[in-house]
């Protein structure tokens, strides 16, 4: 069962312009899904995660409607046919 990533405009330069990216296999966790995403599109990795592998402070990732900060972070389970959204947080000045 595939999962689908929704890619924000700022990162489409690194996904050949695609606003959605489908991962064919069934990742067990968010970490697996992200790993599959940046195998396909390596430029996305450093924009979403720090060099230590943590999701950047002002980036939110949602599985469906749920922010992964409340579902186990990178260990969050990925149900089949999930839609994963990558969204910059509401912050700044």
């Amino acid at each position: 069962m595939s999962v689908t990533f929704h890619i924000p405009g700022a990162l489409r330069e690194f996904t050949a312009g695609h606003s959605t990216v489908e991962i064919e296999h069934s990742p067990a966790t968010l970490a697996d899904a992200l790993s599959a995403l940046w195998t396909l599109y390596p430029g996305v990795r450093d924009r979403i995660a720090t060099e230590q592998g943590q999701v950047r402070e002002h980036i939110n990732i949602f599985i469906g409607d749920e922010n992964v900060r409340y579902t186990g972070g990178l260990a969050s389970p990925i149900p089949a046919r999930s839609e994963i959204s990558i969204v910059p947080a509401v912050s700044g000045g």
Binding site: L11, D46, R56, I59, P88
Partner: protein, 701 residues
């Protein structure tokens, strides 16, 4: 072939193969550099005159010094092996990058401008590429385009059908013409000679393929492809390809050469005009109807020419490049670059004949070091961040506060000071960076404390008289010095007060805001601390208080006069709590006696309700005589003085908060200069009143 010598190059490994020959990675044992060597396929059966012609052509193309052309270093013949030694370019071919959906239009434009610029240079020298195709174009990890194999196609007959892409891999009917069929212009298929305009046709095919992921003229056989090239009109490219880009591609793909662009420079200018006009971020159809924000990027570029004077402005929302000439009276503004990203550090590197602008960008999406070799028209955007902490440190990069050039004799060395406090070094002009462990593993580091702006290494000074000595300043860690090229570091803070600590004179932990060194007297340093002004005359062994008669010894910016080692400029702010110009009067203070006394410089600066702040890197001095000074404020104003600070004028206002100001004189630049500059970039956003009428002289060198 592996291990053999070709000329003075030892072959290391095979890296590719095509119809023309095999390409090897090799090491030049005389010049100590990695190179690529193409050994021409013997099966091409070149007779001696064809061999001589190929050598001649390769030698001609070796004269093409251009940042977007893969340099041919040498051509030669050994034991019957004809070989070409070239710059080793590491990256991905545009063919490999042009995936099914095509590249985003921004990338197509960025790469297209660079390809056109390379063609313009070659055409100016009378060299036609003859085999331009996406497989011959490599994009490095920094986004720099390199066009390969200039002028090499002509002499090798039908043997170079190496790059027939995708479904065209089985073309059998190679004729006597040279080139790769899907990229061939109709006139070549008709048997006419290739000229510049055939390259521009191929450029049209390349742009089409990059933008859409498919070739404009397809077919299952060579006959079908030839027929399509001769007769068919390519399928139109709609969104996200902007209409302007599609129009350029169409004109390149006009069947009659006379109706195409006549010069590569025209294509470059047209592509740049589309870039400047802005591209609406058109989402693919899946997003239609969904709420979204469309950001219109409208970026103007300064037209930079040899002899120009530049100001580089980093702000909390992007970067700007201001262009003027030696008069420094009228300013043309390029930018904003990196919309919405903080640019805390910029630098201009003119060593080794380059003219590269560096900028650090920080945003939600991380912190990156970017560079431009064409004065901002295109910037690198590396797939992977080049400055990154090793995994064993457990630390992540937050910001890059300082970009410092290495010594003139080491033109590929640069340093970056970052947050959290650490020093990175590159020895290959920014391709790869490494953490200097001597400082990072210092026993003091766990006890350094972040200031208001974070725990930042914000200042890097290299001693011009001692190539092993370097200083850094950390807020709040203090001053550290190395005498052994960065292996070991010592705290050098004796005499500097730490107002926020119980021990007022600790070994380290002072919140040093800036240090400045005079190149002619490098053992003398000046220091602006969180509270306090100091001078050291002994390489920072100890520091003397020089806050003699300033309204406040709190401040950020500090600047050494480029010629007078007794002269330093500061911009005091009122206090730790109220970090604004004292009494709402914006005044630069200058000492001309090493800090024995200070004088205010305020003519032309606002003296009422000017609650301004000048941050630590937001002031710079040029190399003219008299010296020009420039500073930007947190409120987004830029001021300048052409008479060493005696009088000031406002250059710009309405900028985002200015955090970095640097200057540069463009000398002996190549590429991106001269008559091929786009008309679209000629409009300046802002011309200001003359700064002053005083006579200016050329910079002292």
């Amino acid at each position: 072939m592996i291990g053999q010598m070709l000329g003075h190059c030892r072959v290391v490994a095979k890296i590719g193969e095509g119809g023309m020959g095999i390409v090897y990675r090799a090491y030049d044992e005389v010049l100590h550099r990695d190179v690529a060597v193409k050994v021409v396929n013997k099966d091409l059966r070149l007779d001696s005159s064809a061999s001589q012609s190929l050598l001649h052509e390769a030698r001609a193309s070796s004269s093409l010094a251009h940042p977007n052309i893969c340099t041919v270093h040498e051509v030669g013949e050994t034991d019957g092996e004809l070989y070409i030694v070239m710059e080793l370019v590491e990256g991905k071919s545009l063919r490999a990058m042009s995936t099914d959906a095509g590249l985003p239009p921004e990338s197509v434009l960025r790469y297209g401008v660079q390809i056109a610029s390379a063609l313009a240079r070659a055409h100016d020298r009378g060299i036609v590429h003859r085999d331009l195709k996406t497989a011959n174009i490599v994009v490095t990890s920094h986004g720099l385009v390199k066009v390969l194999d200039f002028g090499l196609a002509k002499q090798v007959g039908g043997g170079i059908f190496e790059g027939t892409t995708r479904s065209f891999a089985t073309i059998q009917d190679a004729s006597s013409v040279s080139g790769t069929l899907p990229y061939m212009a109709p006139e070549i298929l008709r048997g006419d000679a290739a000229d510049y305009r055939s390259d521009l046709w191929a450029l049209g095919v390349v742009l089409y393929e990059a933008a859409s992921g498919r070739l404009p003229f397809g077919g299952r056989t060579g006959f079908e492809i030839s027929s399509a090239i001769m007769r068919e009109i390519p399928n139109p490219l709609g969104p996200p390809v902007p209409p302007g880009l599609w129009a350029i591609i169409q004109r390149c793909l006009t069947k009659e050469p006379i109706q195409r662009y006549q010069r590569a420079g025209e294509v470059q200018a047209a592509l740049e005009a589309v870039q400047s006009a802005g591209i609406a971020s058109t989402s693919p159809s899946a997003d239609r109807g969904a709420p979204r924000t469309t950001v219109l990027h409208s970026v103007r570029h300064a037209q930079v020419r040899k002899g120009d004077f530049l100001l580089l402005l980093g702000t909390t929302k992007g970067a700007f490049i201001l262009r003027s000439n030696a008069q420094r009276s009228r300013w043309e503004v390029g930018g904003p670059y990196f919309h919405g990203h903080s640019v805390y550090a910029m630098a201009f590197d003119n060593r080794g004949g380059r003219h590269r602008i560096w900028a650090s960008t920080a945003s939600y999406w991380g912190t990156l070091l970017r560079s431009s070799d064409d004065f901002g028209k295109s910037w690198t955007n590396p797939q992977q961040a080049t400055i990154r902490f090793p995994s064993d440190t457990g630390v992540s990069l937050k910001n890059i506060w300082q970009i410092a050039l290495g010594r003139p004799e080491e033109p590929n060395v640069l340093y970056c000071g970052v947050e959290p406090a650490a020093l990175f070094e590159t020895r290959d002009a920014g391709e790869t960076w490494s953490l200097l462990r001597g400082l990072f593993d210092h026993q003091h580091r766990p006890r350094w404390m972040p200031g208001n702006g974070g725990l930042a290494l914000h200042t890097i000074l290299l001693d011009p008289a001692d190539n092993q000595r370097m200083y850094v300043a950390i807020s709040a860690g203090g001053v550290y010095r190395t005498n052994d090229g960065g292996l070991t570091w010592t705290a050098q803070n004796q005499g500097i007060r730490a107002m926020t600590m119980p021990d007022k004179y600790p070994e380290f932990g002072q919140c040093v805001h800036k240090i400045a060194m005079h190149p002619a007297r490098p053992h003398r340093l000046f220091l602006q601390s969180h509270w306090g002004l100091y001078r050291s005359d002994n390489c920072a062994e100890n520091w003397l208080d020089i806050a003699n008669g300033v309204p406040s010894d709190f401040g950020f910016a500090m600047l050494a006069h480029p010629r007078n080692p007794d002269c330093v400029y500061i911009v005091p702010v009122e206090s730790d709590e109220f970090r604004c110009a004292c009494d709402g009067r914006l005044r630069v203070y200058r000492t001309r006696n090493g800090g024995v006394s200070w004088e205010p410089l305020m003519r032309g600066l606002p003296q009422k309700r000017a609650y301004e702040t000048v941050l630590r890197d937001a002031m710079t001095a040029d190399s003219f005589d008299p010296v020009g000074l420039y500073f930007g404020t947190r409120s987004g104003q830029l001021f300048g003085s052409r008479d060493e600070g005696r009088t000031w004028q406002k250059i710009l206002e309405g900028l985002p908060s200015v955090v970095c100001v640097r200057n540069a004189v463009v000398e002996g630049a190549s590429g991106g200069l001269g008559p091929t500059l786009p008309k679209a970039a000629t409009a300046s956003l802002h011309h200001t009143k003359s700064l002053s009428k005083s006579k200016t002289r050329r910079p002292k060198r």
